[in-house]
Amino acid sequence: MNEITIGIPRALLYYKYHVLWENFFQELGINLIISPKTNKEIIEKGSSYVVDEACLSLKIFMGHVAYLQDKCDYLFIPRFACLKEKEKLCTNFLALYDLVHNSFPHLKLLNFNVDKEKKEEQIDGLLEIATSLGFSYLHALRAIEKAKDKEEEYYQKKENNLKNKLLNQDLKIMVVAHPYNLYDEFIGKPIINYLEKENIKVITSDIKQKKINTKGISDTLYWTYNKELISFINTYKDQVDGIILISTFPCGPDSLANELIIRKVKNIPISYIVVDNNSSDTGLITRLESFIDIIKLKGGKLNA
C-alpha cells in the first residue's frame, strides 16, 4: 500500500476526539498532519470561506481546512448529527462535511455519519474508513481497541489531575466551554494563560462524565455537548471559587444554555465571556482582572 497522508484540522471536534483519532490512524501506520495552532492568518483565511453569520469557531475550522488543503491526500471530516437519542448537536457539526465539500470541491474527504437515532456510531465509521483505505477489518478493529484504551487513559489522567487541583488551597476558577473553544489559541487559551499567570488553579470542563446530571438547571435541554457542560458545573461548582463561561459569537446552543446557567446557578460568581474576532484584548483583561478581584474581595483576600 502506498503511503498516504491524512489531514485533520486542529479545530472543533478535533479537541474532543483527538486522542481517539490520532491513535487510531497512527496505529494503522498512516501519516497524519494536524494543522498548527490557530493564528491570525488562519482566522482571516477561514472568515473568507464562510458566511458572516457563522460562529468564530466555524470560521477558525475553515481556516485550518484551508491551511491543510495542499498538504495531504485526504482530509478527515466526519459528520456528527446525534450522539444520544432525543438529543441534538449543533447543526454546524452536521453541515461540516458539506460546507468543506462545497468550499473546497477539489479536496478528497474521508467522511462518515454519526447518528445515534439511525444507529450510526463513530466506531463503525472509523472501521469503514480503514477498510475503504484497504486495511483489513481485523487490523482496523485492533487499532480501534488500542485507540479507545489510549483515550480512556487520557481522560482518566485528566480527571485525576482535576481532582488534585481541587484539593489545592489556592483560588480555583472553573472555566466552562466547548473544548474547541477552551484550548483555541485565540479563544480560551489567552483566558486560561492569564488565570494561571495570576496563580489561579484553572478547572477546565473537558473531562468525560459517566453520568450526566443537569438537575436544577434544565430537564428539557437537548444539546448533548451543553448538557455535558451543565453536568460538569453541577458536579464541581461547590469546590471552586468562581465560574467563567466562554462562548464564541454567535453560538446558538451556548446562548440558550449559558443563559440558563447564569439564571439558575446561585451563590457563586459567574462571568460570561463571548469572544468574537476582536483584535484587542483590553476588554478581556479588564473583565478577567476584575472578576478575580471580586472573588478575592469576597474572600477578604484583596490586599494589593
Binding site: 465571556i273 478581556l284 479588564t286 482582572e289 478581584d293 474581595l297 477578604g300 494589593a304
Partner: protein, 315 residues
C-alpha cells in the same frame, strides 16, 4: 510633611484625578476630557492639580492608575499599582458609602452591577463584549436625533408618555427609533423611551436574577442622565442615589489601593516636562503579526507590550 496618594482614572472619554490623605479624604481633585490623547490629558491634569497642591504640607508617595489607559500612564508615572476600573470603582464607592448594597454602573463602553453586603462584594456581573445599552449607545442615538447627550436627561423628564423602544441591540434600536420618529412620536417621548429602554435593558441583562436591594448607587457617565436615573427609580420602585462625585469613584478607589499597596515610589509633578512618545510596531516574526506598542521616554524605551508570545518581546 504629610503623606498623600494620587489616583488617576484615564477613561476613553474623560480623565479624573484625586489626591487623598492617609484617612482617604479627598484633598484635591480634577476632571477633564481625554480627547483621544491620554498622555497629554494626564499632563494637563497634573498641571491643574499642582496649581493648588501645598508642597510644604504634603508629599505624594504613591500613585495608582485605572481606566483603559491605566497601563500606559502607570508606566510613565511609575505607579505603585495599576488596577482595572471595576475594582477601583467598587473600592472607591464603598469607602464613601459603606452602607451601600447595590452599585449600578453604566460607562461609555461597559455596564456592570456589584452587590455588597456589610461592605464586602458578594456578587457581580458585567456586560459581554458587546457595548449595547451603554453610554456609547446613548451618544450615537443623540447624534441621530440631533440633541446633545448632556441634554438627554432634562428632555426625557418632560415626557409624560415614553415611547417603547427596543434597546437590546443598537442596530435594531436605531431602526425602531427612526420608525417611531417617522410615525410622528414627540422627541421628548422618544428620548424618555430610550432612557427607559437603557434601564430596562440593563436590568434584564447584567441585572437579571440579581437581588437588587437598597440603598442603591448609580454611577458611571450615564448616571449624569436624569432620565435614566428616573427610569431606574420607576422600575425598581425605590430611590436611586446618583452621587455628585460619582465620576471620581475610580480615581478615589485606585488612590486607596495605591495607599494600601505599601509601595512608596517618589512622585514628582515635574514629570509633565518629560517628553513621552508611543510607537506601534508590527512584529512580523510569525503569522500573528502582533502590533507592539513601545513607550519612549526622551527617546529611550521605557516599556513595550502587545505581543502574544516571547518572539515579539522587545525588552
Amino acid at each position: 510633611m504629610k503623606k498623600c496618594f494620587l489616583g488617576i482614572d484615564i477613561g476613553s472619554i474623560s480623565t479624573k484625578g484625586v489626591i487623598i490623605d492617609e484617612d482617604n479624604n479627598i484633598l484635591y481633585s480634577d476632571y477633564l476630557w481625554t480627547e483621544g490623547n491620554p498622555i497629554e490629558a494626564v499632563k494637563r491634569l497634573l498641571a491643574n492639580l499642582k496649581k493648588d497642591f501645598d508642597e510644604q504640607k504634603y508629599k505624594v508617595v504613591a500613585v495608582g492608575t485605572t481606566g483603559s489607559a491605566r497601563r500606559l500612564i502607570g508606566t510613565i508615572l511609575h505607579a505603585s499599582i495599576i488596577k482595572n476600573e471595576i475594582t477601583a470603582h467598587a473600592i472607591g464607592t464603598t469607602s464613601l458609602y459603606p452602607k451601600i448594597r447595590t452599585i449600578l454602573e453604566i460607562g461609555g463602553q461597559d455596564s456592570k452591577i456589584i452587590l455588597i453586603e456589610d461592605g464586602i462584594v458578594v456578587d457581580y456581573a458585567m456586560n459581554t463584549l458587546c457595548a449595547a445599552g451603554t453610554g456609547s449607545f446613548l451618544s450615537s442615538q443623540a447624534k441621530r436625533l440631533n440633541v446633545k447627550v448632556e441634554d438627554f436627561g432634562d428632555i426625557a423628564l418632560q415626557s409624560k408618555n415614553p415611547t417603547k423602544i427596543a434597546a437590546r441591540c443598537t442596530v435594531f434600536a436605531e431602526s425602531d427609533l427612526v420608525h417611531k420618529a417617522q410615525m410622528g412620536y414627540k422627541k421628548e417621548d422618544i428620548i424618555a423611551g430610550l432612557c427607559k429602554s437603557v434601564a430596562l435593558n440593563y436590568l434584564n441583562n447584567v441585572g437579571k436574577g440579581k437581588n437588587i436591594k437598597p440603598p442603591i448607587i448609580f454611577q458611571g457617565g450615564v448616571s449624569k442622565n436624569k432620565g435614566v436615573k428616573k427610569a431606574f427609580e420607576d422600575l425598581l420602585g425605590c430611590e436611586v442615589i446618583a452621587p455628585k462625585e460619582g465620576h471620581l469613584m475610580g480615581a478615589l478607589g485606585v488612590a486607596i489601593l495605591a495607599k494600601n499597596s505599601n509601595k512608596e515610589i517618589d512622585f514628582d509633578f515635574n514629570v509633565t516636562d518629560i517628553n513621552f512618545e508611543t510607537r506601534g510596531v508590527e512584529c512580523h516574526k510569525c503569522p500573528n503579526n502582533c502590533e507592539i506598542i513601545c513607550v519612549m521616554q526622551n527617546k529611550k524605551l521605557l516599556d513595550a507590550w502587545g505581543n502574544r508570545c516571547e518572539a515579539g518581546s522587545v525588552k
